[in-house]
């Protein structure tokens, strides 16, 4: 008996597509429609055309938040990759307790970023945090207040973020490293290649797929940073370290829901551009 599987197999994807449509496409389209309204979150929305997008371009706080978000991503995404790669290279070597070290390095990534941020806040709080008290104990007083400088506060937020997610980046690089056949290393060894030559000509080209995944996910993660900032500085002082994601939330619940969806679409574009460029770049590299 012949069963024609070709005709109904295609419908197997239907449940997943329905769920995807319900929880992603439909809200996305609804958000896009709301971005053209003055909806305050509870009363009847009115259509206002592109006014929200025009307002965004003249909104000093929003533009400051774009700057903060981009600066954060510029610091966080490369650092995450450098640290992740360095850790992966170290942990790709044989030594006792390697599994425990890997687990420990990955552990911060499974903890909620809000909890992680709060723990770091307690450690780093100016004057009252654990580090400040330890410094006082050893006679170093007047350490200053890092939270009052928006640049320094941003650097600390980047470092905390890197500390939390470097383990996750490391795991992806490690998977890439372990997929490289041992014969390639042996061949390089026989040919007398140095460590740096081996890395440049053998390891790095084969890590491109891992690099691609890490760069793209880190760009997306960094440009939509939320919890780490909320826990560490709450966007302060003033709005100096506020990210665009936090701004969207605050506008959404600040009676400017329509406007917040317009800003969310702008953030979508801000994320899409570097992701698209990276994808094109890596696709070209992989084609070579």
């Amino acid at each position: 008996m012949h069963i024609d599987t070709g005709s109904w197999h295609r419908y197997m994807a239907l449940p997943a597509f329905l769920l995807f449509s319900l929880f992603f496409l439909f809200p996305l389209m609804q958000g896009a429609v709301l971005s053209f309204t003055d909806w305050d979150g509870f009363s009847t929305p009115s259509f206002i055309g592109f006014q929200n997008f025009v307002d965004f371009l003249h909104d000093a706080r929003a533009l400051q938040d774009v700057r903060t978000t981009v600066l954060f991503a510029l610091g966080s995404a490369p650092l995450l990759n450098l640290c992740g790669l360095a850790l992966a290279l170290l942990l790709n070597k044989k030594f006792r307790g390697k599994q425990v070290v890997r687990a420990l390095l990955y552990l911060p990534a499974v903890i909620s970023p809000m909890i992680m941020g709060s723990i770091w806040y307690l450690l780093l709080q100016p004057k009252r945090g654990l580090f400040a008290l330890l410094l006082q104990r050893v006679g170093v007083s007047g350490q200053g207040n890092w939270m009052l400088s928006s640049n320094l506060a941003l650097v600390i937020i980047v470092l905390v973020n890197v500390w939390q997610y470097a383990g996750m980046t490391m795991v992806i690089y490690l998977a890439g490293l372990q997929a490289i056949p041992l014969e390639h290393y042996e061949a390089a060894d026989i040919e007398g290649a140095s460590s740096s030559q081996t890395f440049r000509h053998i390891v790095f080209p084969q890590l491109i797929p891992s690099l691609k995944i890490n760069i793209i996910t880190n760009i997306i993660g960094s440009l939509s940073v939320f919890e780490a900032i909320l826990a560490l500085t709450d966007g302060g002082p003033g709005y100096d370290t506020e990210s665009l994601s936090i701004y969207i939330l605050r506008m959404c619940y600040g009676n400017k829901t329509g406007y917040s969806t317009a800003v969310a679409l702008m953030l979508f574009l801000i994320i899409l551009i570097p992701v698209f460029i990276s994808l094109r770049f890596f696709n070209k590299v992989e084609e070579r």
């Binding site: 305050d40 979150g41 509870f42 009363s43 709080q125 100016p126 004057k127 009252r128 207040n145 939270m147 009052l148 500085t233 709450d234 966007g235 302060g236 002082p237 003033g238 709005y239 619940y253 600040g254 009676n255 400017k256 829901t257």
Partner: protein, 422 residues
Amino acid sequence: MKRRTTMVSLIAAVVLLAVTVLPVVAQGAGEKEIVLDYFSGRVETVDWDAEKIAGFEAENPGITVEYEFQKDASNVIKVKLASGEVPDITTVVNQDFIDQGIYMDLSDAAFWNRILPSVKDLCTDLRTGKQYKVATNVTMGGLFYNKAVFTELGLSDAQTWEQFVANLEAIKKAYPDKTPLFLGGKDSWTLGHFVEFWAHGIVKQQLGIPGSRQAFLDNTVEWDAPNGIMENFAKALLELRDKGLLNSDAITATYDNQKEAFASGEAVIINQGMWVVGDIVKLNPAMATNIGFGPFPSVVKGLSPMVLCAEDSVYAISATSEHQDAALKFLEYMFSVEVQKEYSEARSMPSAFIDVESNWSPIKDDAKRLASAYVNINFSTEAPSGLSVDDTGRLIQKLLNGDYASPKVFATEYQKLWDNAY
């Protein structure tokens, strides 16, 4: 084979029928059961609320109260309203929602003749003259101080700004290790309360409570007037900062730090509402008899000191609720003398019900004295919900951080913030 197929089909049909019909039958059987949604944002009374609901349900077998607490209730309720899930009873009320007709008119409810007339006035919507909310308590806000330090230094309630600064300087001189006035500015709402009490209070004193409520509703206050309220307010705060009378981490310390500093004696004065008293006593029970309560001095010359004396613990019923009678029944239960006495003592706040006598706080006597001796101000409930104390607090973070060129610039920024919210 055919017989077996018929049997299987029959069983399947019976099961299908049972699955589809049973829930309908079950629903029909429980038709008389009334389910009330009670949505609360009061973290302090989650257990207490649950206990009272159990008591109400025991007395009213046909009514079930489904209680939902959300820490971020003022935002969560917007999501509920947007999705059409308006709770039958809520503790979250603001002017925008009243204007949208979301709440039931409670003007004819029986409980009003038990409530203080001043609280009823504060519950009255200025646009319609009706009451869409009811407050069961009165809260007060002012300057909490360390009584022992004040007594030792011979200090008393400051009647003027100059006297207030002199008090703080005397504390600093006598106790260089203590903080005269402690701010927990990372939690920006605590700084927002400075604006609410110290700056908005001036308008309330100048225009009176009804006049100021109308002015806030119509956005007619000139916050950026030259040498006006906000400019003087900014000058006053900067004076405290420049004279070293605030904690050095005023912008980055938290509300918890503020409470701990006061409870431990590190801070001598804090600007708070009476909701802080219970926590301070929990942190250090010895402080129960050492908490003094004083008024805010006016930052504008020629005006009297003020104390926040406002409605608290608000309830409203949904205008679209299908069970308004049951919701009123629940409120009547919650408003009974015994329940309100318990509530007043649990929250350390005086009751708004004239027939409720309670031993509500260690600062009870001071609070009575302040309420009668100084100008009483209320919360700015007529300001739009888009203007939060969190936002106003952030302006103060920036002011104290030196981000504004002058107090005048701060006043201009405040006016902008206020205008944008309308």
